[in-house]
Structures are given as structure tokens and as C-alpha cells.
């Protein structure tokens, strides 16, 4: 077997988990989560539940480049600090 075929034979979808490896997924968003800093008590539940790891643990800010707008953070937030706002047409 050629060297190239030998290497090809091991090709799978194994990759390194890096930021943005699936593209700018924020472009898909219909609703954006907006945080009300007054209501937020820093419980970190939004950070725990965000399936795309788009919420920063220190500042609890949303990374809108990758946030798909799924709204899980707004559902899980116990103080109602996250509100889903419809995106304007671009």
C-alpha cells in the first residue's frame, strides 16, 4: 500500500476542540439573548447550560459571533435576567 493510502486509511473526524471550528454560527440567529446586569446574580447557570460555550465565565457576556440564539440560557436563568430579542433584518 502506498504511504498516501496508508495515511488516508486513518482519516476520521477526530479534531481539536477549538473556538469557531464550525464557522460563524452566530449568523444563523433569529433571537439574541440580552442580559440585564441588574437582575443577574452571577449564579453561572447560563454558563453551565450554554451548549455552544458562548458565555464567558468571568463577565457572563454572550459571544454573538457564535451564539445560535437557542434560548436555553433564557429558559434556565432563575432571575429572568436573559431576554430573547428578535434580530433585525440585515
Amino acid at each position: 500500500m502506498s504511504k498516501e493510502n496508508e495515511e488516508l486509511g486513518y482519516m476520521t473526524s477526530v479534531s481539536r476542540p477549538i473556538k469557531g471550528c464550525a464557522g460563524d454560527t452566530g449568523e444563523w440567529r433569529v433571537f439574541r439573548p440580552v442580559k440585564d446586569a441588574e437582575k443577574c446574580n452571577n449564579c453561572l447557570l447560563c454558563w453551565v447550560f450554554c451548549p455552544e460555550a458562548c458565555i464567558d465565565k468571568e463577565e457572563l457576556e454572550v459571544d454573538y459571533q457564535y451564539c445560535k440564539g437557542c434560548g436555553i440560557c433564557a429558559v434556565e436563568c432563575p432571575t429572568g435576567a436573559m431576554t430573547m430579542i428578535k434580530e433585525e433584518k440585515r
Binding site: M1, Y10, M11, T12, S13, V14, S15, P17, A22
Partner: protein
């Protein structure tokens, strides 16, 4: 240890001898005895494995993949609609390259509801990327489970393997066979050493997005695994013979082919029945041989070209059908021979939904096929029965279709 047991129980004992560590499974007739016996072995402390009772076959295959990705040796079993329900995850297992082994007890797909043997279930999973082997005896089922891990875990192969055994003919029938003990198997089958594994200390992603610019290579790699399996299947069969003294063939098991002028091609237990027909035809002076296709994937293209060279004709027996064309084995055999062997070929469709396939019928149809008296594709024993007449009577009540007045 020699035992008189059902084919299903023997598969369970073989999985134990092969040091299987995780068994996610969901019961379905006629596979249930396999996983019941594994659960019993674990409960009795005779098998050191984790049994995961999942809520569906789709989940069974998902857990099978996941268990293997952690570096464990994983096994499952299913049949028919269960296998069909796994379809998406079968692709996943091959795509993610896990060396898992699964027994599939060949059963028809409904409707009409039918729990008996045919090959439609596994043939329908032809293109999922799994190696597919069809066994013809209890002993071969046992030995193939043990060989399977040595084939799939070879680092040049790493594709999952489906071991197909015929419902009831093998699964529920009692036969005697030798079950090698765990210590005996240890000398043949080393512990599984994965190339990599899921490990929180070395986080990697697997199964994430692969864009068009990179995707094709991940599919070609599955084909390279299958191509490499051809050689590994042969070397593992030879090594198995050295250790255990038993031989079931490589990708194909040829029988009386050396001077044959005509060949029967078949898979599974029907091929064992066809041996009896070949013996009878030989006694009549007809030089007929048998090609028992063991591996449907990878398909034995080179072997068939070599073994069929110079034949006057062949009859391919299918226990399945690819609707809109012909039996699946027939299509594959013809594709393999095209441009290499110019022999007349016919296709016998029999044994569908567990109807009995007798050596007398195989013998009779072989004579017809060789004499050019058989249609290219022949549904072996189709006829109208009293049950079928109920259908026509109901249709007549609803309309003019069968209204003879």
C-alpha cells in the same frame, strides 16, 4: 469445552470467551436468547462485563460506539426491525471507525409480520460500511465471533463487523460445537489496544463538522479499511487454524470446485443445504461445485473471478431481494465477473420469510439452470395458497379487481 446448545447461546459463550467488556442490547425475536444468556453469565459472575439495557436499538448502537471509543471491547446483537432501527447509527459506527462486533440473527422485515429467516435485514444495511459475514453452522458462529475482534481491531482495518446467522436454522437449533475457554482464546486474541480513546486529560472532538474540502477522504478511508480487511481475514483464518485446528474458509469457502463445470453460489445455512445437493449431483456424474460466500462485505471479487474462471454456468441463490432489480448476491456476483468470466448466470430466490429450502429443490433447479431451462430470475416456489386467497377474496369485496362474475 464441547456443548450441545442453541446457536444463540453459543454466540453468547463466544462473546464471553472473547473477553467482551460492554454489551448494550435490546431484545428482539429471534436474537433474544443471545443477550439473555449474556445477562445470565454476568449475573452468575461467569462473565466480567457491563450490560447496558437500553431503550431501543438506535441507543444500543450509540452505546456500542461510545463504549468502544473509551477503549473497551464492545458487543451487541440484534435482528430484522431492530437492525433497521439502528440504520443511522450503523453508518455512525463505521464513520467513526470503531472495531465493534455485532451478531445479527437474519430475519424477514414486515409487513406481513414474520419472525423467520431471510437475509433482507442485513442486505438492506449493505452500504453502511460494516464488514458482513454469513455463517453456516453453530461452530462457525462461535469461531467467527472470536476471529471478528482480531479482524476489526487490526489497526489497518478498524471498521465494525456484523456476524449474520440464520434465524431458527442456526439461532434456535441445538447442535454440538466446541467453545474455546477464555485462556485458550487469550493465546489467540490479545487485549484490545486502541489507537486513541476518549480521555478527559487529552480532550479531542470526534464526529464534528467536516467541510466538503475534507470530507471525501474520511469516506475513502472506510474503503481502505475494507480493502485491508481482505488480507487480515485470511491471515486471521490461518492463525485460528494453527491454534484451534478449525477452518471455515476465507472470504469464500469453495466446495468441490477443482474440476467443477457449474457452480452454485449461496450464503448462510442455505449453502450448507446446497452441499447436500452438490453431493447428489456429483453422484449423478454432474460436475457441480459450491461457492459459499462468507463475506458479503468486503465482497470477494478476486476470489470469484478466479474460482469461476472456465465455468459453463452458475446459479446464485438469494434469500433476499433488491426490489426493482434482482437478488442482491446475484447483482454483486455478476458485477464481480463482468469482463472477467463469461458464464451464464441465473438467480434463484428462495427461503424468503423462513420458507424451507430443501436440497432436493436446489438440486432440481441446478439441473434446470445448467440446461438453460430456468428464467434468469426465478422465485423458486411461488404459488397461490389458501391464505393468499383470503386476500383476493377481500379485494373482490371492495371492487372489480378479482370479480369474476
Amino acid at each position: 469445552m464441547r456443548l450441545l446448545e442453541t446457536g444463540n447461546h453459543m454466540v453468547a459463550y463466544a462473546a464471553n470467551s472473547a473477553h467482551v467488556e460492554v454489551v448494550p442490547a435490546y431484545p428482539i425475536t429471534p436474537q433474544t436468547q443471545i443477550i439473555e444468556e449474556i445477562a445470565d453469565l454476568i449475573a452468575r459472575g461467569e462473565m466480567d462485563a457491563e450490560y447496558i439495557p437500553v431503550e431501543s436499538e438506535h441507543s444500543a448502537c450509540a452505546a456500542l460506539v461510545s463504549a468502544s471509543l473509551t477503549g473497551a471491547r464492545a458487543f451487541s446483537a440484534t435482528s430484522s426491525h431492530g437492525l433497521a432501527y439502528m440504520h443511522e447509527m450503523l453508518h455512525y459506527a463505521a464513520g467513526i471507525r470503531v472495531p465493534v462486533v455485532m451478531a445479527n440473527v437474519n430475519r424477514a422485515l414486515g409487513p406481513g409480520w414474520n419472525i423467520w429467516c431471510d437475509h433482507q435485514d442485513s442486505i438492506s444495511q449493505r452500504d453502511t460500511g460494516w464488514l458482513q459475514v454469513y455463517v453456516a453452522s453453530h461452530q462457525e458462529a462461535v469461531d467467527t465471533v472470536i476471529q471478528a475482534y482480531k479482524i476489526t481491531e487490526d489497526s489497518s482495518v478498524l471498521v465494525p463487523m456484523m456476524i449474520n446467522l440464520d434465524a431458527f436454522v442456526i439461532s434456535h437449533t441445538y447442535m454440538d460445537a466446541d467453545i474455546p475457554g477464555r485462556e485458550e482464546v487469550d493465546s489467540f486474541l490479545p487485549a484490545y489496544k486502541p489507537l486513541w480513546r476518549l480521555d478527559p486529560r487529552k480532550p479531542v472532538t470526534h464526529g464534528s463538522v467536516v467541510y466538503p474540502v475534507d470530507f471525501s477522504e474520511t469516506r475513502q478511508s472506510i474503503q481502505i479499511g475494507h480493502d485491508n480487511a481482505r488480507g487480515v481475514i485470511k491471515s486471521v483464518a490461518a492463525e485460528f487454524k494453527d491454534v484451534f485446528g478449525r477452518w471455515h474458509g476465507e472470504l469464500v469457502e469453495p466446495y468441490l470446485m477443482d474440476d467443477a463445470q457449474f457452480a452454485i453460489v449461496a450464503m448462510g445455512s442455505m449453502a450448507a443445504e446446497a452441499k447436500v445437493a452438490v453431493n447428489a449431483l456429483r453422484r449423478q456424474g454432474r460436475k457441480v461445485g459450491l461457492l459459499r460466500v462468507r463475506f458479503f462485505r468486503p465482497f470477494p471479487n478476486d476470489e470469484l473471478r478466479e474460482l469461476c474462471a472456465g465455468l459453463e454456468g452458475l446459479m446464485v441463490i438469494d434469500r433476499d431481494y433488491s426490489y426493482g432489480n434482482t437478488g442482491a448476491l446475484f447483482t454483486e456476483v455478476k458485477a464481480a465477473l463482468y469482463g472477467h468470466v463469461d458464464a451464464k448466470a441465473t438467480n434463484l430466490i428462495v427461503g424468503i420469510g423462513g420458507r424451507d429450502v430443501t436440497h432436493q429443490m436446489i438440486e432440481e433447479m441446478t439441473i434446470k439452470s445448467w440446461a438453460g431451462e430456468m428464467a434468469e430470475v426465478t422465485w423458486g416456489d411461488s404459488r397461490m395458497s389458501p391464505a393468499h386467497e383470503v386476500t383476493t377474496a377481500i379485494l373482490a369485496e371492495f371492487g372489480e379487481l378479482f370479480d369474476k362474475d
